[in-house]
């Protein structure tokens, strides 16, 4: 019964969730009936198992294993029901009511009810250590109407909330765990997700078991789930061959070798976009023509072919094809044109070229190639390598590095993406300025319901303004390359966080 309602809503949301619910999507061999086994995933471990103190956007994949939110994202990154079976907005969009599934519990046995949801969301908004507080700032009040009804009153109209709550921001944490040992959540998460954590060794492994109380437990097949860091390029193939990993994220360089060895490889479109962050308040980048010259001087196709071995798509905007925010009119926004770059540079007052410093955490590969490409247009790049551990501090917080090679991991809601990339507090907007037109366009997204027929065009209008006025140099979309042993069924093709509904593993204990 729950399944039927779920399917109906899934169909409304684009039908893609239906595939996941049926187990293994197009892979007819698995049939979705096999339960048991252990799935070992070579991916990444978390900065913290507490969703509100986790400091890396990437953590959402691992945290989704142990936590569930009111909503989750389907394969196309649309919010669909999770802990809440449905929701409705008030007429003016300033209040939204979520209806929880009844009888659910956290992995510590306490009930997932309206009070728990209220406490968890308020903790995310009000806790001193919360890194998701900004996302929840628009919450005026969370009201537990009855045990299974939560009403969220907003400070202003915000139709993005169901999407925002599908990520780390909306992961519901057991209030009992918070009361007894809040700090301990960083290593001992208590949620209502598909799995529960049994043991965890930071930077090494996390071992989880299936949580029977998960609302969609019928679609979670493996009994055990183990999480490891992604393998190095040199060991990717061996880790699959030896069976140390069943599913592994592999570098594009290993694609052919892994395929040739008989493993299945899925190239899953993702929101991850390679980008050069530019601070347009610092010379020489304060001259828009210099930034434009850089945008035209980069040969993105060559980057994809060399650095990514042809995997990935040239992109001039923060959203990949297939995402609501992807504006088709921007598909060739800044074509590779050395002559034009030189001309722009001359117009900017640098006829003899210009010297800039490109900061990176690992110079090998993309930065070296960008350096060589820009040199052809007269932009002489000096590479500066800073340790990964200092990158956040130096680039995002001190804003001491005006030109930085970065990767945007994507966000649940396009509004969040706009905030991070272009907002006045946006980490990847080192200039911390943006034009009023962009603010208005983003405000318009917030005020447009997701099912409004104009929604996509409203988002795309904002994308256009951002790409044309902001200095970020978008390069290409990076698909997620997941290789798997043949005993694991096909994985879902999730744009945002990878999920494992319907995935089976056989002959593996």
């Amino acid at each position: 019964m729950g399944r039927r309602g779920f399917l109906r809503l899934g169909a409304l949301a684009g039908g893609s969730i239906l595939l996941a619910a049926c187990g293994g999507g197009g892979d007819s061999a698995s049939g979705g009936s096999t339960t048991g086994g252990t799935l070992r995933w070579g991916w990444a471990l978390v900065t913290s198992w507490d969703p509100i103190t986790s400091s890396a956007g990437w953590d959402v994949h691992a945290l989704s294993l142990v936590y569930a939110g009111l909503t989750k994202l389907d394969e196309k990154a649309n919010p669909v029901p999770a802990l809440a079976s449905s929701w409705e907005y008030s007429a003016d969009g300033t209040s939204v009511t979520f209806h929880l599934r009844s009888g659910l519990t956290f992995s510590d046995g306490t009930a997932v009810d309206a009070t728990a949801v209220k406490k968890s969301l308020e903790r995310g908004r009000d806790s001193k250590n919360s890194l998701v507080a900004a996302q929840l700032a628009s919450l005026k009040e969370v009201v537990a109407v009855d045990a299974t009804t939560v009403r969220i009153d907003l400070k202003n109209t915000d139709y993005q909330l169901p999407a925002i709550l599908a990520g780390k921001t909306g992961m519901i944490v057991s209030p009992k765990a918070v009361e007894t040992d809040e700090k301990g959540l960083a290593t001992k998460p208590v949620g209502a997700g598909p799995f529960q954590l049994n043991s965890y060794v930071p930077n090494d492994s996390a071992k989880l078991t299936r949580f029977a109380g998960y609302w969609d437990a019928a679609n979670i097949k493996p009994d055990n789930f183990e999480l490891y860091p992604a393998p190095e390029a040199a060991t990717a193939l061996a880790s699959l061959q030896s069976g140390r990993l069943d599913v592994a994220m592999i570098p594009a360089s290993q694609l052919n070798a892994v395929k040739a060895a008989g493993f299945e490889v899925q190239i899953i479109p993702s929101l991850v976009t390679s980008v050069l962050d530019v601070n347009n308040t610092v010379a020489p980048f304060d001259n828009p023509k210099v930034v434009q010259a850089i945008k035209h001087a980069v040969d993105r196709k060559a980057l994809v072919d060399t650095v990514n071995f042809g995997v990935g798509e040239v992109n001039y905007q923060p959203f990949p094809k297939g995402h609501a925010g992807h504006n088709a009119a921007l598909e060739n926004a800044y074509p590779f044109d050395v002559a034009k770059a030189k001309k722009l540079l001359a117009e900017a007052g640098h006829p003899d070229g210009i010297d800039v410093t490109l900061t990176t955490t690992a110079a090998e590969g993309l930065p070296e190639q960008v350096q060589a490409q820009l040199a052809k247009a007269g932009i002489r790049v000096k590479l500066e390598v800073i340790p990964q551990a200092q990158a956040t501090q130096q680039v995002y917080i001190q804003r001491a590095k005006p030109f930085f090679t970065d990767q945007f991991a994507g966000r649940e809601s396009p509004v969040q993406a706009f905030q991070v990339l272009f907002g006045e507090q946006g980490l990847m907007n080192p200039g911390r300025t943006n034009p009023p037109a962009l603010k208005e366009a983003v405000a318009k997204i917030t005020a447009t319901p997701l099912d409004d027929p104009n929604y996509a065009s409203v988002v795309q209008a904002a994308t256009k303004i951002a790409v044309e006025t902001m200095p970020n140099v978008f390069l290409f979309s990076n698909p997620r390359i997941l290789a798997r042993r043949t005993n694991v069924s096909q994985l879902g093709s999730y744009l945002m966080a990878q999920r494992f509904e319907g995935v089976t593993v056989t002959g593996n204990s």
Binding site: E232, A234, P251, S253, Q254, D299, D305, E368, L383, E384
Partner: protein, 343 residues
Amino acid sequence: MSVLRRMIRLRSVRLALLVLAVVAVLAVAGGSLAPQDPIAQDPKAILQNPSGAHWLGTDYLGRDVLSRLMDATGRSVVGAAEAVGVGLLLGAPAGLASVVFGRAFEWLALRISDALLTLPYIIFAIAVTGIIGNGIHQAMLAIGLVLAPNYFRITRAATLGLASSQYVEIAELVGASRWWILRTHIWNKVLPTIVVTAASGAAASLLVVSSLSFLGIGTKPPAPTWGGMLSSDLNYLAQRPWAPLAPSLVIIITVAALNALADALRDTTGIVTGDPGRSGRARGSDSADTAETSSAATANSAVTAGSAVATSSAATATATGSVETTTAATSSIPRQKREVSDV
């Protein structure tokens, strides 16, 4: 000098000198001798196998590997020389001085050297570059600092043996100044020991330079180093499985030449830089911590603690046997005495 003549008669020495001569030429003019531009990229010809156009193939950005190897020589060798230079400059004079210039200085120098001995090479270099900036000179300064206690210990051990010899005591009795004794009786006899240590130290430093660029510390891409090339080749084993051989062989051959020279120097001068049984065993073992710190033993100066040049890096493992345990133990003192009595 007869030592040199005796050395040059050895085939291993001639071969080593030849290798080092080639390395020296490449170090000075590698970039200009290279057949192609070592940093010119060709995205259409990445990771290619050896061919007429690229004798050793191309790397992940389509750059000519042979040209890069040649161009990398200078950077790799100068880095090693810097580290050894800093180590010698800080260690050797202090080692001499610790014997000659009184108790207070001796105590202080020993404690500082003990403290430095506890620092692991690579981690210290990473910390230093993190603080004073990521560059080859900063990294090598750090490595030199960590190398210094080895030179200090070995110089001190050799000097101690000489300082208690009868002719030095006689010189003291007849009123020779400390400086005169140092210059006349000690310095020239300690020098060969230091040279041997420096040679094996240079070999170790070459490996450290390589392992540091392996970790992305020191030189910055696109400028190539041997270690940097080795490290990036490992990421493309599927495309070019033999590729890491080229930079590894260059490192191994250079290190081997330096070691051959050091061995020959030791053999021809009769200076024992290690109990043969012990150093034989230490060779080939990659135990990271052979550095002994026995302050009790050094205090009564009967036994001098040996120190070992060993790094815990991956590169060490590729060239095991090259990093030599140089121990100036009690056994070296009688030998030196014998040599002295021959004079």
